[in-house]
Symmetry: C2
């Protein structure tokens, strides 16, 4: 092995020496500020390239009182995380923005204990690890709003907060897609359309439920067949069994996510129902498997990568004190596959 001890990262001092100028000149030249002759600037650039020097983030951070890093907290039970395409796509979008600006993404996985969750935020803020954070998986009356305000840490919320959000937020328009799904079922002749909701307490659970309710009522139907779910496969199956147990049975079920929907299809099959002839099913998310199960799942797709980009852009602007960009979010889109069909005749 060996080489570990030998090398030392070059400093701005080394570059200055090689270029025959002072440290200050190097800084000015490489940051594009005015005040160095073109020839000198070229010489400095060359020296920096030769040494493959890059300014230490920590020195810059110390000087600038900035971290050049943004934080993303994930607080979900592992199973939900594993089955949801949201985070990978979202993070990919966030990174595409951060990378181009030399910012890093600090990921923090916290358990759902509010005690330790608050402590995590506090630690990152007090240590100065991040300049701001992205808030996902918004909860109803989200306690994080208060914590972050208290900590004076800039944040951008992803979603439509239930109430009094002190931070800018990204209106991820998933209502229209969800309503379109219900409309689609109604057009197919369904009247008893049930909804299996997501885990309670989350804003997006409430939003999806509301979209179902609103669209039902808009067509003069009572949104009565509701069962609370939890976004897990087991929860989806259980909710489905409950809906199918007592009459009047629904002829269609709209689930708050695909995992519950696919598990629900299995539960319905187990109960002897033929899909989609006797029961239509709609999911939410469009996970990679949605198109590959049988029947292929009709669902609503959200462009999480796009959200990630927009959220990152907003947070960067917020941290830099620039005006927030007008976020243009790709709305959720309805995807018809084969798990939905005409309502069975009475």
């Amino acid at each position: 092995m060996g080489s570990t001890a030998g090398r030392r990262r070059p400093t701005i001092e080394d570059v200055a020496r090689l270029a025959g100028v002072s440290k200050g000149a190097v800084s000015i030249a490489l940051n594009g500020h005015a005040g160095v002759a073109d020839a000198t600037r070229a010489r400095i650039s060359e020296a920096a390239r030769t040494l493959s020097w890059r300014a230490s983030v920590h020195a810059r951070a110390l000087r600038a009182s900035r971290s050049f890093a943004l934080g993303l907290f994930i607080s979900r039970p592992p199973e939900l995380l594993a089955a949801d395409p949201f985070f990978p796509a979202f993070i990919a979008g966030v990174e595409s923005i951060l990378a181009s600006r030399g910012l890093a993404l600090v990921l923090q996985v916290v358990d759902e204990n509010p005690e330790t969750e608050a402590a995590s935020y506090r630690r990152l803020a007090h240590e100065g690890r991040v300049d701001g954070v992205l808030l996902t998986d918004l909860r109803i009356d989200d306690p994080r709003f208060a914590w972050l305000t208290e900590l004076d840490l800039p944040a951008v919320a992803v979603g439509r907060p239930s109430s009094g959000c002190p931070f800018p937020w990204l209106d991820t328009d998933d209502r229209e897609g969800a309503r379109q799904a219900v409309r689609h079922l109604i057009a197919l002749g369904h009247r008893r359309i049930a909804h299996v909701g997501g885990a309670p307490g989350y804003v997006h659970s409430a939003t999806r439920r509301r979209a179902w309710e609103d669209e039902m009522q808009a067509h003069g139907l009572e949104p009565r067949l509701f069962v609370e779910g939890d976004f897990t496969g087991e929860g989806g199956a259980r909710a489905t069994r409950r809906l199918l147990a007592h009459g009047p049975r629904p002829t269609a079920i709209v689930y708050a996510n695909d995992l519950m929907a696919i598990s629900g299809m299995s539960a319905a099959t187990d109960a002897g129902l033929a899909l989609p002839d006797q029961l239509s099913v709609v999911g939410f998310d469009d996970i990679p498997l949605a198109a590959h199960v049988r029947p292929a799942l009709t669902t609503v797709r959200q462009d999480a990568t796009d959200w990630g980009r927009s959220a990152a852009r907003s947070l960067v602007a917020l941290v830099d004190g620039e005006p927030l960009p007008a976020a243009t979010i790709t709305p959720a889109s309805f995807i018809e596959r084969s798990s939905t069909g005409s309502a069975p005749g009475e």
Copy 2:
């Protein structure tokens, strides 16, 4: 609104002033070094608590020439990421170790272009963002080994590298689980057992294929029915159609991951086969949906969270110059569900 300008993070100077001592004393006291009277130490702790002071990572990093952060690079096409429970679980495990030591996890999503991938590593290393990195999704003749050696950045590889890996690695024992799956099929009377491989170039694709080959040969069977896959649903379906198109058809298929397996089951169903009577299917990963599709998928589970913990522990030790802990990895376990059954009579 408003308070942003008002507050300033307290510094060690503030704590020192409040406690009536010098900065040095505060540092010594709060880092648990000997050299301050107990009474003074208590006074200092109290002052720090009052101001809710935490040492700035950047100042510490600058002084110590350490970042107190580790890096994780993800370079996968989004679809593969979204359908794989590996990363969420792995990251959760990593975090559980890092959190307790005050280390942060810097996530970097890079596209698969080797040019930009190398540049990403270079940037993080030169800027001093991280003290070391975790290498996942090992590739055959992984180019990252050379880059990181060149950059002098400590690393730990997760998996069993194909060759000349200059870094410590974690032997994630998935062979036994995979062989057990094949053995299970053979015990059920299957002889024509096919394998749909993962994306070529990855070490784990090769490992799983090898496990299938070895176990087949150990029972005097020719491992001939192989089709290369790509870990995607579409790829799994395509490979399955190919296997079922020409005789002699396999009576069982072992897939390199669950996504391909579930898509394969759909393809088989589409082709008119009854599962598991006419075709047995085994997956790999145990995604949350595996138990909830029909037939429920027989598969092999790996404890990615456990890997994450072990990998993080090893990397932390490596970075700290401590002896590497003996990694005791939970081996992959075979999970029998209903997608496998007795071989059909000839």
